[in-house]
């Protein structure tokens, strides 16, 4: 057998070799002082590795983890309690309204029904209008930005690059000054 490689020694020390290979290693170690020395070094290392201590587990670790896991039962209970509180509040509020206004229960239910449907209708219309306005605004903004880009590109082809850069810088400074000026006026409470 050739001299042992570190991998052979580790496999031997970790009982990962079959019996024939173990016998070969044993026979070689008996004959080769160099490999015996290398073997002793790795065995010392494996002994040192076995001394690596466990880290201390805090005694309340499991409890801390469990406390962060909501129990299925408690979430059901929470849901039930919330439903009961909500329904009770609704009935109590309705009863108070009926007593204070002197309305009949049937009249109250009809009015409540009308009010609910009216709210749903108005809210839907408002949402639709808002969505249309937002889409229109975004469309205009996109067109404006596109046209501005084209204009700038055209402007860039007409004049020399350094003049173009100077113009852009001037416009940026102007924009910054305008923003700063409007901010100052706004903070003073004056109208521009």
């Amino acid at each position: 057998m050739n001299c042992l490689r570190p991998a052979d020694i580790y496999l031997y020390l970790e009982n990962e070799l079959d019996s024939a290979a173990v016998r070969e290693v044993d026979e070689h170690l008996a004959l080769c002082p160099g490999c015996r020395s290398a073997f002793d070094k790795r065995r010392a290392l494996m002994d040192a590795i076995a001394e690596i201590p466990d880290l201390e587990v805090p005694p309340d670790l499991a409890k801390k983890i469990l406390a962060r896991i909501p129990s299925a039962r408690s979430s059901h209970v929470h849901g039930l309690v919330a439903s009961i509180v909500g329904l009770s509040s609704f009935f109590l509020g309705s009863l108070t309204y009926i007593i204070l206004t002197g309305q009949s229960v049937a009249g109250f239910l009809i009015n409540a029904n009308r009010a609910a449907w009216g709210f749903v209708r108005d809210a839907s219309m408002a949402i639709i209008k808002f969505a249309k306005l937002t889409a229109l605004g975004l469309d205009l903004l996109a067109k404006f930005i596109g046209e501005m880009g084209k204009g700038l590109a055209l402007f860039g082809t007409l004049i020399r690059p350094e003049v173009y850069a100077a113009c852009l810088l001037f416009l940026l400074v102007l924009a910054a000054l305008l923003v700063a000026g409007f901010r100052k006026i706004y903070l003073r409470g004056e109208k521009p």
Binding site: R5, P6, A7, R42, A48, I49, E51, I65, L66, I69
Partner: protein
């Protein structure tokens, strides 16, 4: 994980697998006691793993909590044909990968490690040298090996910890890390050679 193990509270792999699967089934039905049993079984190996990778005990305790929470929320995806311990450590390993990515810790080049694998396997053992093993004093060894381990690149250290602290088999580590068994073995051997070098440096 192999028996006998300092981290392993089981009598045998098949028994522990059946017990784990039964605990998972109970935990999935909302049995908190069953999940507590799972925590008690795995908190020590998991804390050791995370502690050796972060090098910070308090952070390791926080991470242990986070990993168990991830395990709890993913229990329904556990497939009983796999070992629970390897599934749990796969979650822990992914957790550490996410953590390192967030911390932008530059990954240690594994290309070099791969190139070194061949070198390591063909490395011939030097002739007679000082018997360093005999110089070790037990009390000092613990400190020195812990310090040396912290200097090992994280990717190599992880495989070493899974093998020699958590005592997983090479096949189980290959499953956890999605690597070929041969690669795992070579990298663990390489880590041990690095550790040996670091320990000898200090003698």
């Amino acid at each position: 994980m192999k028996t006998p193990s300092r981290n392993k509270p089981f009598s045998s792999d098949s028994v522990s697998k059946d017990e784990d699967n039964a605990l998972v089934r109970r935990a999935l039905k909302g049995d908190r006691k069953a999940f507590e049993m799972i925590i008690l079984r795995y908190q020590q190996p998991l804390l050791n793993y995370l502690g050796r990778l972060t090098g910070d005990r308090e952070q390791a305790q926080d991470f242990t909590q986070e990993v168990f929470l991830r395990v709890h929320s993913s229990l329904s995806s556990f497939e009983p044909r796999f070992k629970f311990s390897t599934w749990l450590f796969k979650i822990a390993s992914n957790f550490m990968i996410d953590f390192w990515r967030k911390k932008r810790i530059s990954a240690v080049s594994l290309d070099r490690a791969r190139n070194d694998e061949e070198t390591l396997l063909s490395l011939q053992v030097p002739d007679a040298g000082p018997q360093v093993g005999k110089k070790y004093e037990l009390a000092q060894i613990k400190k020195r090996i812990e310090a040396a381990l912290e200097r090992v690149p994280k990717e190599l250290r992880e495989l070493f910890v899974l093998r020699h602290i958590n005592e997983f088999s090479y096949e189980e580590i290959a499953e956890i890390k999605d690597l070929p068994v041969g690669t795992v073995k070579n990298r663990v051997f390489q880590t041990k050679e690095i550790l040996r070098g670091l320990l000898e440096e200090g003698t």
